[in-house]
């Protein structure tokens, strides 16, 4: 069972909710922080990271000795990572999306494999939780291959909780693509609703089951709830605004540590998702 915790809008409480969900799970649980551009699950779960390796993607290196300057590699590249003029050919590996198209079209085997490091994957234990996250290399634009690598660690048998990146673009899609359920954390504001709608729109393309958790539920307006009713999306839990939670967060404490009374509602939420 894989549950992804996502939101359109940033800062609604994905990590707050996902880390505490992991702590409320019974038996073996895995926590994958797929927000590789700024992983922060470790700040709250405090795992002891024992495994770390660099992840690379394949990029072309053009051997000018065997290049005939036919231009096929440049023409197939949708990302403009290869350009050519006269007898000069240049590749820009940081624009490469590793589709390997250029390798396929080169008839002279003038393109050899080179590697570009995109980030590191780190893993460790936090109590009963098997914790994994990716950290993208500073300046790297492609998060998706690193997210794929983090997701490869997902164990089939146990419960896997994925902390997804905000937004609705490729990194989000990759993070939730294998999830059995997506829990959408939002806030009751026009911004929260706007981005929630976008997210639901994306998820409907995959026919993913999803539910909503409204954080800071006693602030803002009732727009989110009304919309969820109309769209027939269950509001599964509401967490009111509470200074105790904010203070705990600032210290690096999890939601269930700041508010132990929320443990039971979160357990119920997990049970509801399982059904």
């Amino acid at each position: 069972m894989q549950i992804a915790v996502a939101s359109g809008k940033g800062g609604t409480g994905k990590t707050t909710v996902s880390t505490s969900l992991a702590l409320c799970a019974e038996g073996g649980v895995q926590f994958l922080d797929c927000d590789v551009e700024e992983p922060n699950g470790h700040i709250f779960l405090k795992p002891e990271l024992t495994e770390s390796y660099r992840h690379t993607v394949t990029v072309p290196r053009i051997m000018t000795d065997s290049c005939t300057y036919c231009g096929k590699c440049r023409n197939i590249c949708r990302f403009n990572a290869i350009t050519m003029f006269g007898q000069t050919i240049m590749s820009f590996s940081d624009l490469c999306h590793s589709c390997l198209g250029c390798f396929l079209v080169c008839e002279n085997k003038a393109i050899v494999r080179a590697a570009r490091e995109i980030g590191v994957v780190e893993r460790g234990r936090a109590g009963d939780i098997d914790y994994v996250h990716g950290r993208i290399r500073v300046g790297e634009a492609m998060a998706v291959p690193l997210i794929e690598e983090v997701k490869k660690k997902a164990a089939l048998a146990s419960l896997v909780i994925i902390d997804a990146p905000p937004g609705t673009s490729c990194p989000f899609v990759e993070s939730v693509s294998d999830a059995d359920f997506v829990l959408l954390v939002t806030e009751p504001t026009p911004f929260g609703l706007h981005d929630l709608r976008l997210t639901v729109q994306v998820l409907r393309n995959f026919a993913k089951p999803c539910g909503v958790l409204i954080n800071r539920s006693d602030l803002g307006d009732d727009g989110v709830e009304k919309w969820c009713r109309v769209e027939n999306i269950p509001v599964m839990l509401k967490i009111p605004f509470d200074r105790t939670i904010a203070e705990g967060y600032a210290r690096g404490d999890t939601l269930v540590k700041s508010r132990p009374d929320l443990r039971q509602p979160l357990k119920n939420l997990l049970r509801e998702i399982f059904q």
Binding site: R74, R78, F79, N80, A81, T83, M90, G167, S169, C170
Partner: protein
Amino acid sequence: MKIAISSTGANLQAGVDPRFGRAAFLLIYDTDNREVVEVVNNAEGQDAAQGAGISVAGLIAQKGVAAILTGRVGPKAMAVIDKAGIKVISGVMGTVEEAIKSFMTRTKRQEPAHAAKARAAGVVPRSGCRSGKGRQGSGCGAGMGKGQGGRGMGRSPGR
């Protein structure tokens, strides 16, 4: 000598497009015959998800131009242009016609006799823009940072 000008339209009266890779058009102008020899429609560059500058730089280099007049060239496109030994005049504004006129006057002003005379007379010549092929770098002009253009500076896949 052939030069390329990034342009918002297909003729000399159009404004210089401050963007290089995402310019609407690139006009190839022959300074000897004083005519536009080619109009490159850059719709593809404008729509490119990324790497527009690189692609256009390669295309322009293929056409054998000696100089590029534009607003600003990004670092990746500049790497291609440098390799091709094309001179870049950035910070260019106004119409394409004005830009060409200004470029040609300045190129003429670089004549050694004139420069020597100016020096002798104690006149400080305006910043040099040598037209020799193979000289690399940004050349003269008003420099960077002028008018990035309001419309889409590429499409961010980001949040």
